[in-house]
Symmetry: C2
Subunit: 346 residues, 2 copies
């Protein structure tokens, strides 16, 4: 067991003022550099700060200034390969802007009324970054009514709320992915693993899938439509269901990269080869895409950049009261080998 000593006495702005022979107002001014201060006063103050190893107390600062300089990030759960780059982007921006980052990952909370308002809000942050569907429309409205800065990431604002949002181009990219399978590889029976039901990315990827089929006059076959949930485990089971039902397909659009990993595993257990027997495509181009059993054909999504940008918009909204209505990040088809391309190439 460790028994910790008494706490060391921190120095305050008053100690600095005394040491430098000025008032605390002046110390505050040199710290914040928002008002002109004579060079040699500043010099003396800095020396005192250095000497006493002074770091301003954030709670006092926040209380007095009515600004927290904290942004909150709230997301449904921390997992998969998608989350780290997003957080990296958010964190980098926060640091650059001098904001602290408070993070909450919340398990599903069905039926509870506004479960989050006590965790993250005007009482402890200046604004909130909200990832996908973690907050219900009612909860978003709660913040919105108060004029509390919120930026949505991977989600568009609900009807009637003008909230800035950062999203991706999903539909077109999904369409070209499916186009590629049909046109370059002659696929006609492309299974689709749908993502989470409420998820917007999921919705648009499906729209792209449907539209590609339609443009090529391939009727939608509901047998080929399965639940994937953007999750390797679920995808694994979904493919097993398809195979157990004896459904035939020549390709699978897994919905995202994580799901593709589960797809590979299930196919292998049934001794189906990729891409010879079944072609597989994902979405996101996370770091596992090139590492999968067959390098994955997928769509590149600039996840870290989007995280950064969302934080940027939030800081703008906090500081200036304005932000861009919607930022849509472009995505890009990445052809590797799981679709059947480059069979013998590098």
């Amino acid at each position: 067991m460790i028994d910790q000593e008494k706490k060391h006495q921190r120095s305050t702005i008053m100690d600095i003022a005394r040491e430098a022979g000025v008032s605390i107002s002046t110390v505050s001014r040199v710290l914040n550099a928002n008002v002109p201060v004579s060079a040699d006063t500043a010099e003396r103050v800095w020396r005192a700060i250095e000497q006493l190893d002074f770091i301003p107390n954030s709670a006092a600062k926040r209380l007095a200034s009515q600004r927290a300089n904290i942004i909150g990030l709230i997301l449904p759960e921390i997992g998969g390969v998608f989350f780290p780059p997003m957080l990296r982007g958010v964190e980098r921006c926060a640091r650059e802007q001098g904001f602290d980052l408070l993070i909450y990952s919340s398990p599903p909370t069905e039926g509870i009324d506004h479960p989050h308002k006590k965790l993250l809000g005007e009482h402890n942050t200046d604004g909130l970054l909200v990832f996908t569907t973690i907050l219900s429309e009612r909860e978003l409205a709660w913040y919105y009514r108060r004029g509390f800065p919120v930026v949505l990431l991977h989600r568009s604002p609900p009807q009637g709320m003008e909230m800035p949002s950062v999203v991706f181009e999903n539909r077109q990219a999904a369409e070209s992915l499916i186009d590629h399978l049909i046109e370059a590889h002659g696929c006609r029976r492309i299974a689709f693993l749908r993502g989470p039901v409420e998820n917007e990315d999921s919705y648009w990827r499906e729209a792209g899938y449907r539209s590609a089929l339609e443009r090529h006059s391939i009727p939608l076959d509901l047998d080929l439509y399965e639940r994937g949930n953007f999750d390797a485990q679920m995808a694994f089971q979904a493919v097993h269901r398809l195979l157990d039902k004896g459904i035939h397909f020549d390709a699978i659009f897994a919905g995202d990269d994580d799901s593709s990993a589960g797809v590979f595993l299930a196919l292998k257990q049934h001794s189906l080869r990729v891409p010879e027997d079944v072609r597989v495509v994902g979405f996101d181009d996370t770091y596992i895409a090139p590492l999968l059993p067959v390098p994955l054909t997928t769509v590149h999504v600039p996840i870290e950049e989007a995280g950064y940008e969302a934080a940027r918009q939030l800081v703008n909204l906090i500081k200036t009261g304005t932000a861009q209505q919607q930022v849509v990040f472009p995505t890009q088809l990445v052809i590797r080998r799981s679709c059947g391309c480059c069979q013998k190439g590098s």
Copy 2:
């Protein structure tokens, strides 16, 4: 562009006091439930709180109580598959304990003196969770001298500092992993990809590797010793270097699971089959282990549990001034197929 309305006026403890017809002291007491309050006063206060949708201002609370109820987590960088479960554990514990979680991921900062002390410390948190080598010994000492609560995760305390730490059993597990390759599969030339130089896990995994070789009278061959850095990219290059130099080996201990992914890729490019030509083992048992081209034989490390436990120790240290000196989590060999076991089995 979005232009946000004026901010909504938040209610304070004074509004509640007025509404409930009591003093602010009483409101504070029912909120904190640390002092007896008569049932019907409490009732009235709660009603007022409900009605005015009151949430106490954390900055004021922190300033007045001299407790932040925030723990800080500081780590070198956010990436790989290791990070999400760790953060999930930390976050879950923080939430359960009513602590906010502040997170800093810092790029390498060589040569700067105490670069972190302004980011995370007594001025904005109650204590710090420090992951691996992100803080230098000097920086740790800086916090230590002040009696600031710090718990180390994946790292033992430096000489002379009694800091609680949460670590894993690496050495024995690595040894059994290598034992298995030698005894069950007759390997004699086992390449080793070392992790980051300063990393403690890396150090002990190497110790286990060496000791297994020694116990089987296999001389250590430095040709088989490469830099891996716990990273798929680096591992990929390392394996290429080995092969380009024409060095022969019958197995690779990749150092961790991420590295194994890079190893698979490099071997495939050289048309070497796993496990027929080369057996591969990893460490950590992250979620990609079963998803790799050949399900990975590795060592299970309870990452999320350790994150949770580290946060738990930190909260203890903050609240009671005491914590366990060191918590060592057991690890466990997980045999899959990349070592050559279960060739035709499930």
